[in-house]
């Protein structure tokens, strides 16, 4: 694994800014990987052994993902919306899993660890660099029961919603009276009042490389037309 400073530079560039959450995230990832015995998590021979659950959608989450190389689309990054500054690192080969929690007291201790730095953000950033892992984190050894349908790799199972016909992958369907139902057709969905619409220039497709002419020219100013 690269040095902390190199990882932080890369991670903050990818994230868009350097902040205390980035410092915590980089260190959290370094500790988590160390605990499960992966020293180069982004290397080809290790990348498939790792799954990380992040419990917050904050700066720290981006840093954890960057350092470990886990990705949502690769199914190695799992987001569980607990609102907790924690991440669990799972070694699929050994089954070892450790949940690393950022301590709340670290915030209060910033002034003790970086009394020479003025400004809340700058002080936290420097203090989180200086604190030992034992101050910055608590660690729990945990068991993670990974269902086959949660693992990276090809889709294991497909169901068809009995109400709308939508294909649902990897056992994310609900069973209502024994019939599969997708989330949008259930009462447990993040949106409501869904209604199919048309949109302007809906026949557009990217130009092919051999033909620089786009298949359909989209005007520079393109907005959604009224579909009421």
């Amino acid at each position: 694994m690269q040095s902390f400073d190199a990882l932080l530079n890369e991670s903050s560039a990818a994230h868009g800014h350097l902040c205390p959450g980035q410092v915590v995230g980089v260190r959290m990832a370094m500790l988590g990987c160390r605990l499960i015995g992966l020293d180069e998590p982004t290397r080809r021979d290790q990348i498939k052994k790792l799954i990380v659950y992040v419990e917050m959608d904050r700066c720290t989450a981006d840093a954890v993902a960057h350092v470990t190389g886990v990705k949502l689309g690769r199914r190695s990054l799992k987001f569980v919306d607990y609102g907790i500054m924690a991440a669990t690192f799972v070694n699929l080969e050994t089954g070892k899993a450790f949940r690393v929690l950022s301590t709340e007291e670290a915030r209060d201790l910033a002034c003790a660890y970086a009394p020479d730095v003025a400004g809340k953000g700058a002080r936290q950033l420097e203090a989180y660099r200086r604190m030992p892992d034992s101050v910055l984190f608590r660690v729990q050894k945990v068991r993670v029961n990974l269902d086959e349908c949660d693992l990276p790799g090809p889709t294991r199972f497909k169901a068809v919603c009995s109400r709308c016909g939508q294909v649902i992958r990897d056992r994310r369907e609900y069973l209502v009276d024994g019939a599969p139902v997708c989330r949008p057709c259930s009462d447990n969905c993040y949106f409501s009042h869904a209604r199919e619409v048309n949109w302007p220039h809906m026949d557009w497709s990217p130009p092919s490389e051999s033909n620089s002419e786009p298949s359909r020219q989209v005007p520079a100013r393109c907005g959604l037309v009224s579909v009421s």
């Binding site: 201790l109 009394p115 020479d116 604190m131 030992p132 034992s134």
Partner: protein, 343 residues
């Protein structure tokens, strides 16, 4: 796990912890110690101490008794120059100075340690001069029984950098004093600085190797500094010439003598015009005229730290600001006062 029983039913059981008795102005200590087998005669005494119930302990695998916790914590907190005995009293273990010297407390680590639930450690202020055997800190686990994991995490925090509490012995140096000022050099007034500085150096166990006098001439002061260095002095203290008058040339002389690093100005009163400088590893301390008038000045805060091996720079001189204001009490009680205790 703790099981609560009526004290009348406790005969034949062993106490899970020391039981403290306080008789105001007369006694505070364990009336009964952990492991004592309760007998009929004890019941009345226990009740007088307000104990109508007692605990029986049955530790789970991940639990730890307060005495064992205190031992783990004390071992982690204790750094170099600290002695402690693995004999918790009322759940507490005291850390004592194993040598005469300067107490050094890692205040950040101590704060982090105390932020862990159910453990505590209290210390004297960092940079307090202590004598061998003196109690400098004490620690305990707060509940009678606690989980092992937080105790071990607190111990890991305490053990960083070789322990959060330590006592540094003071080096015995050969100090050279340079008393500046044409009025003294020319005999217009009697020097009072050298005896004061000599006494402070001697009180800390070092010796004055030589005293040089120089007028307000940067070349002659620089020569006096060079003379002390040639004579093998490993600490130089210069008095006077630290202010803002045209005749105050000591700072210039220190630079001319070869100081690569100089920090002028300390966040302490008395002693704002104090200076620390280094020629190689040899520290030079510039003491302003307040050292003549006040019994205790910034020099008394910094000199022990220099002798304890600390390199004093801008940060150290700045950080003494919190608590760096002497109250100038008619009856000075230093070191039993807040002066210099902020950091």
């Amino acid at each position: 796990m703790l099981k609560k029983i009526d004290v009348q039913d406790a005969v034949g059981t062993r106490l899970a912890h020391d039981i403290t008795e306080i008789r105001p102005g007369e006694f505070k200590g364990p009336a009964f110690t952990k492991g004592h087998e309760v007998c009929n005669e004890d019941i009345c005494h226990l009740q007088k101490l307000g104990k109508n119930h007692l605990y029986l302990i049955d530790l789970e695998e991940d639990e730890i008794h307060e005495n064992q916790a205190a031992s783990i914590l004390a071992g982690a907190l204790a750094g170099e120059g600290i002695a402690w005995e693995d004999r918790p009293k009322e759940g507490k273990i005291g850390l004592h100075a194993a040598v005469d010297g300067l107490l050094k407390v890692d205040a950040a680590a101590l704060a982090a340690f105390n932020m862990v639930d159910e453990v505590m450690c209290a210390t004297l202020h960092s940079h307090t001069l202590v004598k061998k055997g003196e109690l400098v800190a004490a620690t305990r686990a707060i509940p009678l029984v606690m989980k092992r994991a937080p105790v071990e995490r607190a111990a890991a925090i305490a053990a960083q950098n070789g322990g959060s509490v330590r006592v540094a012995t003071l080096k015995k140096v050969r100090a050279g004093i340079v008393v500046t000022g044409s009025e003294i050099f020319n005999g217009l007034i009697e020097d009072k600085f050298a005896p004061i500085l000599s006494a402070k150096i001697a009180d800390l166990g070092s010796k004055v190797a030589g005293i040089a006098f120089a007028p307000d001439d940067e070349n002659l002061i620089a020569e006096a500094i060079a003379g002390h260095l040639d004579n093998g002095c490993d600490l130089l203290i210069l008095s006077g010439g630290m202010s803002v008058d045209p005749d105050d040339v000591t700072r210039k002389a220190i630079r001319m003598a070869g100081a690569e690093e100089a920090h002028y100005g300390a966040a302490a009163l008395p002693g704002a015009m104090f200076l620390t400088a280094y020629i190689g590893d040899t520290p030079l301390l510039g003491v302003p005229a307040c050292g003549l008038h006040h019994r205790i000045t910034v020099l008394d805060l910094i000199l022990p730290r220099i002798l304890a091996g600390e390199r004093i720079g801008k940060k150290e001189l700045a950080f003494i600001g919190h608590g760096g204001l002497c109250r100038d009490c008619p009856d000075c009680s230093y070191p039993h006062c807040p002066f210099g205790k902020g950091m």
